[in-house]
Amino acid sequence: MPEVRDLYQELIVEHAKKPRNFGKIEGAEHSATGYNPLCGDKVTVYLTLEGDRVQDIRWEGSGCAISSASASLMTERAKGKPRGETDALFDIFHKLVTGGAVGEAEAAQLGKLAVFSGVKEFPVRVKCATLAWHTLKAALEGTKSVTTD
């Protein structure tokens, strides 16, 4: 039986309490807001690109520990990465939290993000974990808002 601690691992709680890269980037060329209409969670992601590389990325919003920690860890991870890599990472992350098969090489790419592995045992929380990622994707694609529906 999955325990609460499988979901709320220390790193998640820590990031939820002290989110990294929290705030706005004034005049950011790319931004998008993601909503989870079911629970009211909201995440706005701001980013600047240097060529195809995410030069700076910040986020703001409000939500549960899972969505906040996910946004925090995502921004930490995406900073400095080429777009293609963040896209690929989202795919792996999505598999991780929905209980899909994550290969060894993929697991290695996840790094700290593997801390969200407990989410798969809590299906109603999948949208919390992926909200920030959907929003990042929208920001990169130039969509202004996105919902988890």
Binding site: V4, R5, C39, C64, I66
Partner: protein, 422 residues
């Protein structure tokens, strides 16, 4: 915002009136289940109540023994079904102390009842600049239908304010009753805060200015006796599933004089007297508002729910629930970091709270792991959340089958939440 000490908390947690809860719980099969290896503690009754065996039996009996359409068959199964269907209408009439079964319309639920009144009663009276009065503590189902009407007609939605305890400001309500007010739509009990509104006084106030009143009784009907003639409300709406009955069925009570003059809500079978391609004459009340094959099983199941409550004694059950709410209020108030949302003097059934620094969804998930089912979210009352400056709350809501031990399990669960978030 400093909530003043509420009398709910100050009032000693009186011994609950005598109710053999252990026995009562045996009537509810769902309560026997275990969750995550723990006995289910069901504290989400404001969302939907569990069903007693008698309701389940009534549904089964209908589908097994008398599954036929109503009001049209000449065969005996249809007669049986019609008798039970109309029998439920009489049960509901007595439950609400309405004067005539003509005034009892079966609908899908409170939401449909409100929409029906909006479309058939209010809309024909509504023009640009007219007003609809609601309160700051309404459920979305008593906001959105009115907003839609306002958008379509150019009318304006007025919202009576409440104080920091979640109590309606009576003078604020009174001030917003104007010669342009076409209806006042008020919840009897707030689903997000538990506030019991003084609906008889509000109705009197509105009537003295010639304003008809709709009461949203979704939360009230299962907890307090309702007498629509004493309240003198023009419309009263409630849902079956919160009243220990099936989902998909609800009731609109309306004064006969209004229902009589209102056009039908939907056209179809059963709501007509005669149809030609030139002209249709409508059926009499209440059938004019029940187009198509109704939710026969639901109506019969709802009748069984009403029977169950009558047998238990709604007043007695309500007194027990109030004792439980007072106990829970005191218990949670003692937990550091917990802030109660909704501290009205008159409350029923609902205990909303937030925990400092922890999002209600995380609270809900962790409580679920402990076997405690609560609601976490905005409770379809986003303006209420805005009013208190919070995104959501965790809400425990009680029924007569809940116990102090279950409240203790909730409190222990909250301690666990705090432990996880260190």
């Amino acid at each position: 915002m400093t909530p003043r000490p509420s009398s709910v908390a100050v009032r000693p947690a009186t011994e609950p009136s005598r109710l053999d809860v252990a026995r009562i719980r045996e009537d509810f099969p769902a309560l026997r289940q275990t969750v995550n290896g723990k006995v289910l503690v069901y504290l989400d009754n404001a969302a939907t109540a569990q069903k007693p065996q008698t309701v389940l039996d009534a549904l089964r009996k209908f589908y097994e023994c008398e599954c036929a359409n109503v009001h049209r068959g000449l065969h005996w199964m249809s007669e049986e079904a019609t008798r039970d269907y109309e029998g439920s209408r009489e049960k509901v009439r007595r439950f609400l102390s309405a004067s005539d079964t003509k005034e009892i319309v079966f609908v899908r639920g409170t939401t449909e009842a409100i929409n029906l009144v909006g479309q058939c009663f209010v809309r024909p009276r509504l023009g640009p600049g007219d007003e609809i009065l609601i309160t700051a503590m309404e459920h979305h189902s008593n906001i959105v239908p009115w907003q839609m009407l306002c958008e379509a007609t150019g009318a304006k939605l007025r919202v009576a304010p409440m104080n920091d305890d979640g109590e309606l400001l009576m003078d604020g309500f009174e001030r917003l009753l104007t010669p342009r007010t076409r209806i006042a739509a008020v919840s009897h009990i707030s689903n997000a805060l538990g506030t019991v509104n003084p609906v008889a006084r509000l109705t009197e106030m509105a009537h003295s200015r010639g304003v008809p009143v709709l009461l949203d009784g979704a939360q009230a009907a299962p907890h307090v006796p309702v007498n629509v003639q004493e309240l003198d409300c023009d419309f009263y709406a409630f849902s079956g599933h919160k009243l220990y009955g099936p989902t998909g069925i609800g009731v609109l009570y309306g004064k006969e004089k209004w229902l009589e003059e209102m056009p039908p809500y939907q056209g179809g079978g059963d709501m007509i007297r005669s149809v030609t391609f030139d002209k249709t004459t409508y059926n009499s009340l209440p059938y004019k508002f029940e187009a198509g094959t109704p939710h026969i099983a639901g109506v019969i199941g709802l009748g069984a729910g009403v029977d169950y409550l009558n047998e238990l004694g709604l007043e007695r059950a309500g007194a027990y629930e109030n004792g439980l709410l007072a106990y829970a209020t005191e218990r949670l108030r003692r937990i550091p970091g917990v802030r109660l949302i909704g501290t009205a003097r008159e409350k029923a059934g609902v205990l909303s709270f937030v925990i400092r620094g922890i999002h209600p969804h995380d609270v809900g998930t962790i409580l679920d792991r402990e076997g405690v089912a609560v609601r976490a979210g905005h409770h379809c009352a986003m303006p209420v959340m805005d009013r208190f400056g919070i995104p959501a709350t965790t809400r425990a809501s009680f029924a007569f089958y809940n116990t102090r031990e279950e409240v203790d399990a909730l409190a222990a669960g909250i301690e666990k939440v705090k432990e996880v978030f260190g």
